[in-house]
């Protein structure tokens, strides 16, 4: 047996890779039904034309997250109102995988796409924390030497640490904060450029989140009640 609360917590772990937020906070979960050991979920997205690879990724992650719950039996995940709803829903029901679902259109796996967005999420989280320090008075050339232990406690720092863990980067207090995707420091003279580029990534992610949340509410006015405010982002 599984409870609805357990199922919802499992869905909290499913992240929109592009927006770097849980699908539950975004309002993408249209319905969740638990009946005995069976769980049925319907997902909805901001447009019919949201990229099918991202749509599939979130839907299959939702099925995976629910399927591993203790006591859970049959898990059915449906994506509603998408131009590929039939294809994706058949693929999910058959556990056909990404390539099995999309056939010749999906020659590669989703792993690289997912990794790309994990890297972007880390860079954006890094920029949020460091820009907050700049606004608090840290000179820009001081960024090179900031270590994790220097970061102010709070949700933005916690978010950065979580994203570092996902990438396998150190979360020791002595680890440098402004680093590339592999955890390496940039040359000191590149700090302004790298911060600037990180900023454009953060703006992309934040802007997409505004847009997608707004479009979802336009398309499904009732979704407003399901969307939670952005929690940990500081900009």
């Amino acid at each position: 047996m599984v409870t609805e609360a357990q199922a919802r917590r499992a869905l909290d772990t499913v992240i929109d890779p592009e927006l770097d937020e849980p699908i539950t906070d975004l309002g993408f979960v249209r319905s969740l039904e638990v009946s005995g050991a069976a769980v049925t979920v319907h997902l909805r997205l901001p447009t019919s034309f949201c990229s099918p690879n991202f749509a599939y990724l979130m839907a299959s992650d939702a099925k995976d997250a629910l399927s591993v719950l203790p006591g859970v039996g049959e898990v059915a995940v449906f994506l509603d109102d998408h131009h590929d709803s039939d294809l994706i829903n058949r693929g999910l029901a058959a556990d056909a995988g990404y390539r099995g679902t999309f056939g010749h259109e999906a020659e590669e796996s989703l792993a690289e796409l997912r990794a790309t967005f994990r890297r972007k999420a880390h860079t954006a989280a890094m920029e949020r924390v460091l820009t907050a320090m700049l606004r608090a008075g840290l000179p820009e050339d001081g960024l090179h030497d900031v270590v994790l232990g220097d970061l102010p406690p709070g949700p933005a720092t916690a978010a950065l640490l979580r994203r570092r863990e996902v990438l396998g980067l150190s979360i020791e207090r002595s680890a440098y904060a402004l680093v590339d995707d592999d955890g390496n420091r940039y040359p000191r003279e590149e700090v302004p450029l790298r911060l600037r580029f990180a900023r454009s990534i953060r703006i992309s992610i934040d802007g997409n989140a505004h847009f997608c949340r707004g479009l979802l509410r336009t398309r499904y006015p009732e979704s407003a009640a399901d969307q939670s405010p952005v929690k940990e982002k500081v900009s």
């Binding site: 447009t47 019919s48 034309f49 999906a106 454009s200 703006i203 802007g207 505004h210 398309r219």
Partner: protein
Amino acid sequence: MYTKDGESYFIVDAHIALWDARPENQRNIHGKQFIDCFYDYHRNLSPESEVWPYEDYLYQGGARLMKDLFEDGYVDHAIFQPAHLGAFYERGFGQTEEAFALAQAHPDKLTYNHFWDPRFEQAGLDQLRRDAERFGLKGVKLYTAEWHGDSRGYKLDDSWSYKYLEAAQELGIRNIHVHKGPTIRPLDRDAFDVADIDKVATDFPDLNFVVEHCGLPRLEDFCWIATQEPNVHAGLAVAIPFIHTRPRYFAQIIGELLYWLDENRIQFSSDYALWTPRWLVERFVDFQIPEDMTEYAPLTTAQKKKILGLNAAAMYDIPVPAELQLPREEPQAVAVA
């Protein structure tokens, strides 16, 4: 022309459409989903007073277009950037004959850009040569996520794409507008990826590549490429309406574009009929970077004049009355080499 506080602006709307999405032209459910998606963009980002009824949104026709752009909208010149979408609409989405006839009737006000699809291979290439002559093409709009048979998209660096770009260069079609933004396919490499622009911009230095929607939602990838490729430009279609709902976000977009590109490579577009130009022009002229965003310099009047019209006018050789031009200046250096 738009005048405010003693300053006059020459307005070029660099990305407009004359579409027909009425049910009788919809080929299938995707045709309905496509226009519904546009309508949601329109409803979500427009001020309440500018929201149209759904029926009006399906089709406007030439008379309404002329009024919305040139009578009410301050526009001096507009450029058609049609999306064909033949898999969704019986007679296509963008209305070629109607738009071209309108452009012929008003050559001082309208420029007709056409489209190609490299997946038609040699037959499409032959058609391109005929289209270039018939329409007098200076530019094209490429919708790389167009469906075609089993294919749901193409890249500019595909081998047939290169042949089309070579032909464009030979035919004097210098301005290649590429839709990169909220879209549908291709599946494998993500549909917003702008890496193909990087390759062709290097290999075709005589062509201008205008990335519509300035790479949103991948602003950073676009900026990184545009910084290094001087023939890559940003179209503000779909970005500029954020000026109403998310002015701080819009400030960040324009601030980043000015930092990574420069003020000569950004073009105003209403994306009519997604939005009408009047309120966008008014808001942009009034717009300023919020004071607490110290990472960006304030927008100057000269920058606004370039973005609203002078940049696109230069690209398309559109005559600008002397009193609406800026004093001659040296080109600004690219911010980051």
